[in-house]
């Protein structure tokens, strides 16, 4: 890697200045039904602002990729509206494409070309492109420049996908499962890269099923399940939709456990007593005080704070129950 300072550092220059910049992505009541009749997206809305990392989080089949394909202009919406940088991504493709970078889940670079050939070919199709060598250098691909794409490891291919998406200096990056197949170190490096781009003003629409990735990267996120957005907000907002819990093994010979914590939701989960609470510390203190006063052991006592994972699972379960 070289270390020289470039003449023109990356910065957003407010393209289209003269008024408030439009949202990077604006999705309203989007529905997408596949030719098979399967309803992949069932009326979702969200907005991604310039410089924001917005996460679409969901299980496999939740509708994330179907949504990304519409935003990328690869497929038309069945109904609803989608605006990308103020334009229709299908009808106004020529206006949108020079300002977006896309990493698809399937990659899609020709296996028989070398890394340099694949990137150079892509750069030659752009209205304006960054120097290929510099971009490969930043993605740590310089030493693999003469290697064919099909000979790269999964992680290297993913980095090349990102390199190609960055060649055009995009205002919006669409990243569909960008760290799938990466080892932990490479994943962290990609996260740093995305944060860096966001800090420089690039909007990022990130789809992922990795909760840790969404937690680490997303300024805001929407949780998708079976084609619907079941929660949206900051990570803290989404986590707040779910309560922390204290649980222990139930002793059949003991008095009624439900009397121990008035005001909290006490229930039974198989052979465990579960207390769900918005204030884990206070509830845990009360449970311990109650057990102390009763001179009771609470076997398998466990306190679990609310997390994106527990909130996500609860949201998915709740959505399934209300179907």
């Amino acid at each position: 890697m070289t270390t020289q300072t470039p003449a023109e550092p990356l910065q957003r220059t407010g393209r289209g200045a003269g008024g408030p910049a439009p949202a990077a992505v604006e999705v309203r009541d989007l529905r997408r039904t596949h030719a098979s009749g399967a309803e992949a997206v069932r009326g979702i809305s969200f907005t991604v602002q310039p410089g924001e990392v917005f996460g679409l989080l969901g299980t496999n089949g939740a509708g994330k990729t179907s949504t990304t394909e519409v935003v990328a202009g690869l497929a038309a919406a069945t109904s609803g509206t989608v605006r990308v940088l103020g334009h229709d991504p299908v009808r106004e493709r020529r206006r949108v494409r020079p300002r977006t970078g896309v990493v698809l889940q399937s990659g899609g670079l020709p296996g028989d070309l070398t890394v340099t050939e694949a990137a150079t070919t892509w750069a030659a199709t752009l209205t304006a492109a960054r120097p290929v060598g510099d971009v490969l250098d930043v993605l740590d691909l310089t030493r693999r420049a003469s290697t064919t794409v099909k000979s790269l490891s999964g992680g290297e291919r993913r980095r090349l996908d990102l390199a190609v998406a960055l060649l055009g200096d995009p205002d919006l990056l669409l990243l569909d499962e960008p760290t799938t197949g990466l080892d932990a170190e490479s994943r962290r490096a990609v996260w740093d890269l995305v944060r860096d781009l966001s800090a420089a003003g690039t909007a990022v629409l990130l789809t992922t099923h990795h909760l840790e990735e969404a937690e680490h990267l997303a300024d805001r996120l929407a949780v998708m399940h079976r084609g619907l957005v079941v929660a949206e907000g900051t990570v803290a907002d989404v986590v707040a939709t779910h309560r922390a819990e204290v649980r222990w093994h139930r002793d059949a010979g003991r008095p009624d456990d439900t009397a121990l914590a008035p005001g909290d939701a006490v229930s039974f989960d198989g052979r465990h007593v579960v207390v769900r609470t918005a204030s884990l510390q206070r509830t845990l203190a009360r449970v311990l005080a109650w057990a102390d006063a009763q001179r009771l052991e609470l076997p398998e006592l466990r306190a679990t704070p609310a997390s994106l994972e527990t909130a996500f699972l609860a949201l998915a379960r709740s959505a399934d129950e209300t179907r």
């Binding site: 890697m1 300072t5 470039p6 003449a7 023109e8 550092p9 990356l10 910065q11 990328a72 202009g73 690869l74 020529r94 494409r97 020079p98 977006t100 896309v102 698809l104 399937s106 990659g107 899609g108 670079l109 020709p110 296996g111 028989d112 070309l113 050939e117 694949a118 070919t121 892509w122 030659a124 199709t125 752009l126 209205t127 304006a128 492109a129 960054r130 120097p131 510099d134 971009v135 930043v138 993605l139 740590d140 980095r159 960055l166 060649l167 055009g168 200096d169 669409l174 170190e185 490479s186 490096a189 990609v190 740093d192 890269l193 860096d196 781009l197 800090a199 420089a200």
Partner: protein, 274 residues
Amino acid sequence: MSTTTDAPPRVAALPAAAPARGPLPGSLRRTAALAGAEGRMLRRNRTALFTALALPVGFVALVASVAGARLATPTGAAGAVNLLLGVLLLMVVFYNVLSAAVARREEGVLQRLRTGEAADEEVLTAMAVPSAALTVAIAAVFGVAGAVALDMPLPGRPLLLALAVVLGCAVMALLALVTAAFTRTLESAQITSLPVIAVCGLGAGLFVPADALPGALARVAGFTPLAPVVELVRAGWIGDPSAADVAVWTATLLAWVLLGSLVVRARFRWSPRS
């Protein structure tokens, strides 16, 4: 990005994108770049390259040995060129473009290209350019080598010959893209290509002389995609065709181009089927 230290990636250090420079306007520049990449992939694909080079060379050797002195006559030369061009259009343009379209689609390359700035027409044209260029080059080499080594006469009306080659390449490339829409894998391309090769080859008289076909079939055969190409080549070499005949042959080829374009626009698949 560094995989050896905790240093953050140096995205902020990247230069801004610079406007594209070069002698070609945007559309041609994009098509040329993609065609160049397609050409590299063709060179690295031994099977495709064998089909593109060894088959015509073997065919030429066979024709030269069978036709012998008849190649020195305009009729013999036109017949040999027609056979060669027919094989090139079917095996190099049609089959190679079909294989490339299916392979690129299943690799996800076509879908990825659609996220970029290249228009659909540019992507598809680029896919056909190397095979078409190879066809023109082989045909030209055969013509020159035939004239020098076998005393083959030169075409009397070379413009008709050029028209036949250009429209023939366009029609066969479009037929390949149409066939790709109905082809799931590279292996199944060996099956789905057969009807097109059979109908085109039969209609153009490559397998049996066109006048050996029954009357009604012979009349229909004249409108199959390769038949007007054969007529234009023959007219370019030996004939003095009427303007009406040339108009009918050209119109037939243009009709195939139009029909192929419409079907490709409506039915071509960009995302992997498997």
